[in-house]
Amino acid sequence: STVVLVFQAPTIKSPKRGDNSNFRFCIKRGDKIRVGEGLGRWQES
């Protein structure tokens, strides 16, 4: 079985580039992950 997660991540309003996402995944392909572990993080805008 598989779970596919699709989500909108926080964006920063940047006057030069328009909306810019500051979300970063902290996992990569092939990693083993467990329930409750972080998938990705963002900084407070």
């Binding site: 997660l5 699709v6 964006t11 810019n20 392909r29 329930v35 998938l39």
Partner: protein, 366 residues
Amino acid sequence: TSFLRKLQTNPQVRASFSGGSNNSQGNTFLLPGATFATLLMLGALHARRMYDDRKVEEAREKGIEIEFKPDAKASFLRLLPLRSISRIWGFMTSVEYPVWMRPYVYKAWARAFHSNLEEAALPLGEYASLREFFVRTLKQGSRPIDHDPHCLVSPVDGIVLRVGELKGVGAKIEQVKGFSYSVSSLLGSSSFLPMIEEGDMHEQCGEQESTPTEKTKKSWWSISLASPRVRDTATARPVKGLYYCVIYLKPGNYHRIHSPVDWNVLVRRHFSGRLFPLNERATRTIRNLYVENERVVLEGMWQEGYLAMAAVGATNIGSIELVIEPELRTNRQERSYYIQSLQKKESMNSRCRFFEKYHVGAFNMG
């Protein structure tokens, strides 16, 4: 008796009845010969599969990405009644074992699929059937939760297959190198996925609009070749900051699904489909694997916007259960596509709290 005695003593008579000494020898070895040939064939197939898997593993270690390549086995799987097989498996695994037998069965399962039995919340003797054991809960504290308010956590145990940002026209997720599927086909064509029509995107980016001639060409192609459904997704792009993550659960993994954030589930969709295996080999040999398989999609909103979670069933694990909608049954005999608005149904608590004690759902056998 005299006839049998004659047969034993007279080699000529014996030969005339058995059709010659060579045939007699052939009949004697016919059954063991067939068995041996079958075993040899199975052994050869298994050895070839092991060899292929090893080659794939070696290539991956070297950083070479395996490309999509359909094979005969994938075509053969399409002929098998995998939904019925899964239902039979579900029925067989829901049979209750005698208490003395339970630890042996579950330990054998754990050994075969590398499950950690120490994490199980209950003693092994308390799981009446393999089906019940499969969706076992965990001991408190066995999964430390990241409580960082600026972090999105994993809803399941498993292996990360794909992560990335949805970009470009059609918003596609790569199943494997050389084959991608669109997110709209996974979540449903009427999903709330935040997309921008390409025209709006151009206006947003301040790009120059295409010339009238180009516009005419585009409409000609789209009218000639594309269906309206394809055209809709093909002309839209996802908004900035839309991400995806694909996590594969092995048979030995913890099979409950939790809420990755605090969110409101607005719609639940159930897509009745096939039940192909979802292992690594299947992803690189079966086209549209996630789009064709039975699945339940939850769509909703969290503090940062859109959130959707698709639970895709696999062979023998096609029974997807939801806590917020206990009456939902998947992998039934009749096929259906069913949408349920969770907002309108007041009896349902559609608000899934971040990682609360209660899970959102589970994958079960059947």
